[in-house]
């Protein structure tokens, strides 16, 4: 990746770095959201920023999701570069009118007169036993909305590198940080390079089957690939990275090589982004398929609190492995 000296860093720190650099690089940038200041961010991402940048640029908001998300839209239309933090995706439902009817719509509805260079960050995902109302994984579902761009950083490099291009983008960009990734640790070059926010990435090369994942399910897919490798099945793991506009080319190119695909998605199965990926493979690579595309998603239940029940509801590496086994066991046509 880079030649600059590398340091050990967590996903949380990488996000914080990215925000710091953005604040330092452009005075139009500010951060607002619930508890981003004095508390340091519900997940500690913005800890220290209030002290460094002050209350004008690190703004604690009231519990008023619709108002402060909408204020981010207006501020962006008027020339600012807001980073709005919605504490978790669960609460963005309260701001969805602003997101769909204003952020996603005004540029088009005004005939291209207003750009909306807004970034909205949210923590997403389940797995911490916080039960039904706090365990949604809605990013794949929100990718339905034209006019928005959606990003799901699943690596340290993306955690640090996606914010700058997102802020430079004249459109509303939603960044989803999976709660299970914040403590992800590893080496990352000191230089905060921006990464592209157009393409999916092949995280592991393999010729036998394509595993498509994003955000919190990338580690799941990689774990499954490890197991499969032990059985002599080489899985190619694709991290979508960008949920809208979807880079289906990278997916299709892989499927054309492997002839099989499993989509791993923490969203509920029906109407999941996994369904969209499956449909696109159907449309663009049907004759390349040796087996039907399979989906491993979250069970269609509100997430239960009990650990064993929650884990049973979520997509596990074992289920991915089983899906691949069924597929490779499948008689060729």
């Amino acid at each position: 990746m880079s030649v600059a000296p590398a340091a050990t860093i967590t996903y949380r720190e990488a996000m914080r770095d990215a925000i710091r650099h953005a604040l330092l690089a452009d005075e139009r940038v500010f951060l607002m959201g619930e508890d981003v200041g004095a508390y340091g961010g519900c997940f500690g991402v913005s800890r220290g920023l209030l002290a460094e940048f002050g209350p004008e640029r690190i703004r604690d908001t009231p519990l008023s999701e619709s108002a402060f998300v909408g204020a981010g839209i207006g501020a962006a239309m008027a020339g600012a570069r807001p980073i709005v933090e919605v504490m978790t995706v669960n609460f963005c439902l309260l701001a969805l009118d602003q997101i769909m009817n204003n952020a996603a719509t005004i540029t088009h509805m005004s005939g291209g007169q207003f750009a909306i260079p807004l970034v909205i960050r949210m923590t997403t995902g389940a797995g911490r036993q916080v039960a039904a109302q706090h365990s949604h994984s809605l990013e794949g579902w929100l990718a339905h909305i034209p006019g928005l761009k959606l990003l799901a950083p699943a690596t340290l490099a993306d955690a640090r590198g996606m914010l700058a291009p997102a802020l430079a983008d004249p459109n509303p960009v939603l960044i989803f940080e999976h709660g299970s990734l914040y403590n992800l640790e590893g080496e990352l070059s000191e230089a905060a390079e921006a990464v592209d926010i157009e393409r999916a990435a092949v995280r592991r090369a393999g010729a036998d089957v394509t595993l498509v994942a994003y955000g919190g399910t990338v580690p799941t897919a990689l774990a499954a690939a490890e197991t499969l490798a032990g059985e002599g099945v080489e899985a190619e793991v694709i991290d979508l990275r960008v949920l809208r506009p979807l880079d289906d080319r990278t997916v299709i190119e892989s499927v054309v090589r492997t002839h099989r695909a499993v989509v791993v998605d923490e969203g509920w199965r029906s109407g999941s982004l996994a369904a969209e990926v499956s449909a696109r493979i159907m449309e663009q690579a049907f004759y390349e398929l040796d087996a039907p595309v399979a989906r491993v998603c979250t069970a269609e239940v509100p997430l239960p609190y009990a650990h064993h029940m929650e884990q049973a509801a979520l997509p596990q590496p074992e289920a991915v492995v089983a899906a691949v086994r069924r597929m490779t066991g499948e008689p060729e046509r």
């Binding site: 009231p62 501020a75 020339g79 204003n102 540029t107 761009k149």
Partner: protein, 328 residues
């Protein structure tokens, strides 16, 4: 609140011209709607002209405006050309939103007219954000946010008044209280019908004024705008007005009495101002005839532009879903 200042002739005639422009423009829109030249939802401002005309007098070219779906008048008075508005309602590419927005979504970056928003209450957070950006950039500007009485019931109203007051943002909240949210009368949806009282819950200064007398409206707006500008904090202005026409072209208008409408027509803001000016010897029949002619010509010219306008090629359908080119 009643008017205390005398109006000079030039300004008086200008106020009258603006109200006439809005009135005649919309009367023409009704004809064009029946002629199916204009489609979709269309909401008329007829009867409420004094509000937009009076308030706009207090704004400078640098200030910003956020309006609702009942915004033909606001756009016209703000300086969006009648031609580009009419072309918009014709769905022509010459329209102020390239025909993509229609009657409810007039936009004009040049005059900082941030649109026609058709979600009740949906414009308030946007206005708060515009004011926040202006404040952060050290620009000494006011954002005027127009909304109806019905919007007061929405949670966003509450969230936005608190946010604007908490952060001392230069927003002028203008509540156009025409006493109905579609077919539901204010007292049937608000437990406390004195809307100016609501502002107290946010420690925000508020005024109520007669929205049928443009001179009164202007005076109240000047005071409120000055408060926002110099006090660097938001204000709330309730203007008591009435719509003479149905809520939209689809509304059978079954929920209010003919007498009630008649009563309010007696306070029609156009004759109210006319009489005031005549009484002060500032207006003659010739003046009125002249203004009517001027306004009629502007509207005819606008219709001509709209008629002659072109339809955007369908190949351009997917343009502007995302911003084209660099961020401004």
């Amino acid at each position: 609140m009643t008017a205390t200042t005398a109006v000079d002739r030039r300004h008086g005639l200008e106020l009258l011209r603006q109200m006439l422009l809005v009135r005649r423009f919309e009367e023409k829109c009704v004809e064009l709607y029946s002629a199916t030249k204009i489609r979709g939802f269309m909401h008329l401002y007829i009867g409420e002209e004094a509000v937009a005309v009076g308030v706009m007098q207090a704004l400078t070219a640098e200030d910003a405006v956020v309006a609702t779906y009942r915004e033909h008048g606001h756009a016209l008075v703000r300086g969006v050309s009648a031609a580009s508005i009419m072309a918009e309602m014709y769905g022509k590419v010459e329209g102020c939103s390239r025909g993509r927005g229609g009657s409810m979504h007039l936009f004009d970056a040049a005059t900082r007219f941030y649109g026609g928003n058709a979600i009740v209450g949906g414009g308030l957070p946007v206005a708060v954000g515009i004011a926040l950006a202006d404040k952060l950039a050290g620009r000494d500007r006011v954002t005027a946010c127009f909304f109806g009485d019905g919007a007061v019931a929405e949670g966003e109203f509450h969230e936005c008044l608190n946010l604007a007051a908490l952060w001392s943002l230069p927003v002028l909240f203008v509540c156009e209280n025409n006493r109905y949210a579609m077919g539901t009368a204010l007292e049937r949806y608000e437990s406390e019908t004195d809307l100016a009282l609501k502002a107290a819950a946010y420690e925000m200064t508020a005024w109520s004024a007669d929205g049928m007398d443009v001179v009164v409206v202007e005076e109240a707006a000047q005071r409120a705008a000055a408060e926002v500008r110099d006090g660097r904090r938001p204000c709330f202005l309730e203007l008591r007005t009435y719509r003479f026409r149905a809520h939209s072209m689809y509304d059978p208008d079954l929920y209010r009495s003919k007498q009630e409408i008649e009563h309010w027509r007696e306070h029609d803001p156009i004759p109210v101002l006319g009489d005031r000016l005549r009484a002060a010897g500032l207006l003659s029949d010739d003046d009125v005839a002249g203004l009517e002619r001027e306004v009629a010509e502007e509207i005819e010219a606008a219709i001509a532009v709209a008629e002659a306008g072109s339809l955007e090629p369908v190949e351009e359908l997917e343009r502007f879903v995302y911003w084209e080119g660099e961020a401004p």
